[in-house]
């Protein structure tokens, strides 16, 4: 700063408070003032282009327009507004993806999975759809959550791992159910059943008990075979679990250290039954093509049949 400027007597408001407090009265810099007036002029231009002033139950719509085509194929030109802008932007994005979705719409999931051209599209679009909608329960990558949602990367499927079965599961949702056997079976019977189930996976259980469990499993008393099948491998039609493959969802057998703990984990499920394992319906939330794409993605996660 030059000496001259410092020596200049600053202009004050002429008012003195408390004997020595004064207030400067510097004019606003010109660049600031010009900027201010420019924004005023800009605002006037804005009023003419975009919806702005309310007048008697409506408002000035502005001269800017947007042209879009709706899902009925009708092309409309309307005054600029954010909802029409969304239509325009969505249409542009849909047009870019159209070659892919046209193919997806006309092909079966089996064909999509085999089409090398669609592969990267299915993986990238499927991944974002899965993260948004499925990962909350099935977790990132579809590894599932013990006691909550099944692992999608193994080849064990409650409701079936074929394309059409996965597609149906996503579209309609699922609801797991097993009746509680509290009061129907006594503690010893439940232990026998647990031992029978554990015997499939080479857990060192009492063979006598497992044999009794085998008989009980196939008896009319417990009637486990109704749902889990005579071979205990489950039935995909009703979503009953395969009990022979050492893959667990509701009874946390892998975490149990001792045989007794493993038995208890299974007995807990038999005692209380299951009224959970609810998967929401996605048919209304996702489009048929999105579900088809997700079907291929889930099938490809690892265990598709």
């Amino acid at each position: 700063m030059s000496m001259q400027k410092q020596q200049q007597q600053p202009q004050t408001t002429g008012h003195v408070w408390d004997g020595d407090l004064q207030e400067y009265n510097n004019p606003l810099p010109n660049w600031w003032l010009i900027g201010f007036y420019l924004t005023v002029i800009f605002a006037i231009g804005y009023w003419f282009l975009y919806p702005a002033w309310p007048i008697a139950g409506t408002y000035t719509k502005g001269f800017a327009t947007i042209r879009y085509t709706n899902d009925k194929g009708v092309t409309k030109t309307v005054h600029w507004n954010s909802r029409a802008l969304l239509m325009e932007e969505t249409n542009a994005a849909v047009a870019k993806q159209k070659p892919y979705y046209d193919k997806i719409g006309s092909m079966t999931p089996e064909q999509i999975a085999k089409d090398p051209d669609l592969n990267s599209f299915v993986i990238s679009a499927g991944k974002s759809l899965f993260s948004d909608n499925c990962a909350a329960c099935h977790q990132q990558g579809g590894v599932g959550k013990m006691g909550f949602a099944p692992n999608l990367t193994d080849d064990d499927w409650l409701y079936g791992g074929h394309f059409d079965q996965i597609q149906q599961t996503i579209t309609l949702g699922r609801h797991g159910y097993m009746p509680p056997f509290r009061g129907v079976l006594n503690d010893q019977q439940m232990t026998e059943l647990a031992d029978y189930v554990l015997s499939f996976t080479k857990v060192p259980v009492n063979p006598e008990s497992a044999k009794a469990g085998d008989a009980l499993f196939h008896s009319e008393t417990a009637a486990c075979y109704y749902c889990h099948g005579a071979n205990a491998k489950g039935r995909t039609v009703i979503g009953s679990a395969n009990l022979t493959d050492n893959i667990w969802l509701w009874a946390n057998v892998p975490a149990a250290k001792t045989v007794a703990d493993k038995e208890d984990a299974i007995k807990h499920v038999i005692t209380n039954g299951l009224h959970k394992g609810v998967m929401p319906t996605w048919g209304g939330r996702l489009s048929a093509d999105q579900i088809k794409l997700l079907t291929v993605y889930v099938h490809d996660l690892g265990g598709g049949q």
């Binding site: 408001t13 002429g14 919806p51 309310p54 139950g57 409506t58 408002y59 879009y68 709706n70 899902d71 009925k72 409309k76 309307v78 507004n81 954010s82 909802r83 029409a84 802008l85 969304l86 239509m87 932007e89 969505t90 994005a93 948004d132 909608n133 909350a136 329960c137 977790q139 959550k145 909550f148 009224h275 959970k276 609810v278 998967m279 929401p280 319906t281 209304g284 939330r285």
Partner: protein
């Protein structure tokens, strides 16, 4: 001396004048919306909350969910892809206060209804990180153990009725609701049967997976599961709501 000395040296006048000046923005931007036809879209399906959902909304407010979760999907493509159809003004017409929010630490909840199962909601509210490892949401375990206090449910509905929500207190209002929302919904909006309706909905749906009582979790999950589900957008063209703007 300045022209505005009279204003700046008169503190009472300055306070009034300041309030007038800063309210101009609100008056110009908000007030006209109450008079512009089409601000609230004409759309089928939007109804006031049932007694149980209403208590859930109260708990949503008590716990301050709105501080991290908005309920307002804006008409942007990224939001449409993630959350669904943009929110309509009509969908908030019975919300007093509205829950649009202004901060998204967590995701928008305007259409979270039916996206997850009840058991997911319960598990996630009690221990969010057990399902979403990267979540920063607090645990709300007391929702499951606190029994829901619905002794004042009728007063709460009466208060909203004063604010213009069509909960019915007499035969004429009930009949009007039957006409507007159908018999099943009208029954739920009847203040005189609020308690029975609340208990019945909680028992029928058993949101928290525990039939021994009605917990605050029952109410909150009932509320969350209805968010954004009232309007069936498949009945409308995808540009049906453009004309309102």
């Amino acid at each position: 001396m300045f022209k505005h000395e009279w204003l700046e040296t008169n503190i009472g006048l300055l306070t009034v004048a300041t309030m007038l000046a800063i309210s101009i923005g609100g008056l110009v931007e908000i007030a006209p919306l109450f008079f512009i036809k089409g601000t609230v879209e004409k759309v089928d399906g939007v109804r006031p909350y049932t007694p149980l959902e209403l208590r859930g909304r109260d708990i949503y407010q008590r716990e301050g969910c709105y501080l991290c979760h908005s309920q307002m999907i804006r008409p942007f493509r990224d939001e449409a892809l993630r959350y669904g159809h943009y929110s309509l003004a009509a969908e908030s017409q019975y919300d007093h206060p509205f829950q649009w929010g202004s901060k998204r630490t967590g995701p928008d909840l305007a259409r979270v209804g039916k996206k997850y199962s009840n058991e997911w909601m319960v598990q996630h509210l009690v221990a969010p990180r057990s399902l979403v490892p990267q979540s920063v949401m607090p645990n709300f375990p007391w929702l499951l153990t606190n029994q829901l206090d619905y002794s004042d449910i009728q007063d709460r509905m009466k208060a909203l009725r004063l604010a213009g929500v069509p909960y019915s207190l007499n035969k004429a209002e009930y009949d009007a609701n039957v006409k507007k929302f159908g018999a099943a919904t009208a029954k739920m909006l009847d203040i005189t049967h609020a308690r029975q309706n609340l208990i019945a909905q909680a028992q029928e749906n058993n949101y928290d997976g525990d039939r021994s009582g009605i917990s605050e979790m029952d109410a909150l999950v009932a509320y969350l599961q209805v968010l954004g589900t009232m309007v069936d957008f498949s009945k409308y063209d995808d540009d049906a709501f453009v004309k309102y703007r």
